[in-house]
């Protein structure tokens, strides 16, 4: 089994890989060069997508089969809402994802439920619904690429992507 250990243990790398893999067409501002990977939190331009990803955190995680926003996720979403309210020009797409340990069709629905719960939480924190849209990828776009069950915790996620088409 090939394990991409460096990617799965470094949270910044995970974020970058996800941006590269997922948001290619949704966000023109996504970091997409090797130099971007060397960025640290201190020199990300305030208000940039790097700033959002590195200093706020673009994703939250869920328990198995759950769309409940956990306490740690609530903190992340509160920071996201604060940031989004400070930079009101961004529209966002909330992507819902599921881990592999479920059937394809159910996971598509589960990802939609997670995305909706995330959007609703952000809306309750003052982010206008008109700036947000949701999409579910089910289990079709995993970020943690190992078969181990512990890996799946990173795949059960909702990712807030800047520059998505507002609905």
């Amino acid at each position: 089994m090939r394990r991409i250990a460096a990617f799965t243990t470094n949270p910044i790398a995970i974020a970058m890989i996800a941006m590269l893999a997922i948001s290619g067409c949704a966000s023109k501002k996504a970091p997409n060069s090797a130099a971007d990977l060397g960025l640290n939190a201190n020199n990300a331009t305030p208000g940039s997508s790097q700033d959002f990803t590195l200093n706020v955190g673009d994703r939250i995680f869920f328990d198995t089969d759950s769309s409940v926003i956990r306490a740690d996720a609530q903190q992340t979403l509160a920071k996201q809402a604060q940031w989004l309210n400070r930079y009101p020009n961004y529209k966002i797409t909330v992507e819902g994802h599921a881990d592999e340990r479920g059937t394809r069709e159910y996971n598509i629905a589960l990802g939609a439920r997670r995305a909706a719960a995330t959007r609703d939480y952000l809306a309750a924190q003052g982010v206008p619904a008109s700036r947000m849209r949701t999409i579910s990828y089910g289990k079709e776009k995993p970020v943690a690429l190992c078969d181990d069950i512990s890996c799946q915790t990173q795949n059960r996620r909702a990712v807030t992507v800047l520059g998505g088409q507002g609905s």
Binding site: M1, R2, I17, A21, C25, A26, D65, S67, T93, E100, R101, G102, T103, R104, E105, Y106, I108, A109, L110, A112, R113, R114, A115, A116, A117, D120, I135, S136, Y137, E140, K141, P142, V143, L145, D147, I149, G164, Q165
Partner: protein, 439 residues
């Protein structure tokens, strides 16, 4: 592409070859009971079809492979054959076949007609009964030579098992290539034995859950538009490539399947995280709601008579299987075996529902009766799902990802839980859907 229907003609049965009276009087006892607990594969000799070229041996090879893969037949190595068939119209020397324990014998011929069509004939013999069991001839265009072989294999299967065959069928599935975190997932179609693979799209979009129309050369499936718009259910004409979105709502539509009459597509529509079941009438594009509530209702499948629908719902907490009337009435949970149940698919015979079950960290493919009784697990593995039925209701195909393999492959298994076979595909493959028998 010209319809195969028009170019493939099933001719009348060939008259029995002239046999000594004492042989023809023997009552045929040669039959495989497919419902027995254990099946001893029937030894069968499939001789090379006579032809002036390589086609005869090719057709024989396809027939032999079909019969072998079914698990019900044990084709005998041709090296053991004693009699060399020189006239497939004449009775063989039965003794020569009995001595190598060939209980059934297939002889045949393939020739080219003046108009360029192929003419294929075969005879099926009961060697111990000393008589002909079947004889048919077919005409086909040259490009359909594989189909002719499958049709002959179906005919042999049906004559010897009493059940319809399933060899002249196709599989539509999701071809998966590229790295796991950026995988290309596109529709492909192939014969049930993996031959004649053809891609149905260029792979720019993620395409999932294809299902065959029961009446047309048409597929319904789900796709993610490259525009980033909501994923939606589509219809695709297999021959022309013409496609059309069926969604029509602001949310996502997914998990489509045809009604048995092919006039409707049942699907899930999602709105604010809630997924309910709807039908779309393909004649007038009217959408009708079947379920309400705040749960996830998905993976719907009709009973073959169209009167009931089996589906997955987590309305009671975890994923379970429910059956309701085709109008959405009287939903009843039928899965109570402990664990999560999903992707129910009604058997074409109506007697069983195949499903995916998750229990103890493993995935199982199983069947139960539509009232929930008689649950039977056919296969257990790390990650496997998505059963689809052969049109005769005897074989189930599904997809499985072995740990460390990097991706899923297709497998078939007999309803008895035996004879598991991997289906050859060039890349990783998922979401198989078995076509009806071709016409």
């Amino acid at each position: 592409m010209k319809s195969i229907l028009k170019s493939l003609i099933v001719a009348l049965a060939i008259a029995g070859a002239a046999l000594p009276a004492m042989m023809t009087s023997a009552r045929a006892q040669l039959e495989i009971d497919v419902n027995k607990g254990t099946i001893e594969p029937l030894p069968i000799a499939v001789t090379d079809f006579l032809s002036g070229n390589a086609l005869g041996a090719e057709i024989t090879g396809i027939i032999t492979a079909d019969l072998k893969r079914s698990g019900l037949f044990a084709p005998i190595d041709r090296a053991a054959f004693i009699e060399k068939i020189s006239n497939p119209d004449a009775a063989p020397r039965f003794e020569d076949w009995k001595v190598i324990n060939a209980q059934a014998l297939v002889t045949g011929r393939v020739t080219e007609e003046a108009d360029g069509r192929l003419r294929a004939e075969f005879r099926l013999w009961d060697t111990f009964g000393g008589q002909q069991l079947a004889g048919e001839q077919f005409f086909a265009t040259k490009s359909n030579s594989r189909r002719v072989a499958h049709i002959i294999a179906d005919s042999i299967y049906e004559r010897l098992t009493g059940e319809k065959g399933y060899f002249d069928t196709r599989i539509v599935f999701v071809d998966e290539s590229g790295p796991r975190n950026a995988r290309k997932k596109r529709l492909a179609i192939m014969d049930q034995d993996g031959a004649n693979l053809r891609y149905l799209s260029d792979g720019r979009e993620i395409e999932l859950t294809p299902r065959f129309s029961p009446i047309r050369q048409e597929i319904t499936y789900m796709s993610y538009p490259t525009s980033g718009a909501q994923p939606s259910v589509y219809l695709l004409q297999i021959e022309t490539g013409q496609r059309e979105a069926l969604g029509g709502s602001s949310g996502m539509s997914f998990s489509p399947r045809f009604s048995p009459d092919g006039q409707r597509v049942i699907l899930s529509l999602e709105n604010s995280g809630v997924s309910n079941l709807f039908t779309m009438d393909l004649r007038n594009r009217q959408m009708t709601r079947l379920t309400t509530g705040n749960a996830i209702d998905t993976s719907p499948s009709y009973s073959p008579d169209g009167s009931q629908i089996v589906f997955t719902s987590d309305r009671a907490g975890s994923e379970q299987i429910y059956v309701m009337g085709a109008d959405g009435s009287n939903p009843n949970r039928i899965s109570f075996g402990g664990g999560k149940y999903s992707t129910p698919v009604w058997s074409p015979r109506g007697d069983l529902v195949a499903f995916t079950k998750q229990t103890g960290g493993e995935f199982q493919i199983g069947v139960m009766r539509p009232d929930g009784s008689g649950e039977r697990i056919l296969s257990t593995g790390n990650l496997q799902e998505g059963p689809t039925w052969a049109p005769n209701g005897r074989v189930i195909m599904f997809f499985r990802q072995e740990p460390g393999s990097g991706g899923p492959k297709l497998f078939s298994i007999d309803l008895t839980g035996r004879n598991e076979q991997q289906i050859p595909t060039p890349n990783f493959a998922s979401d198989p859907a078995w076509s009806p028998l071709r016409e």
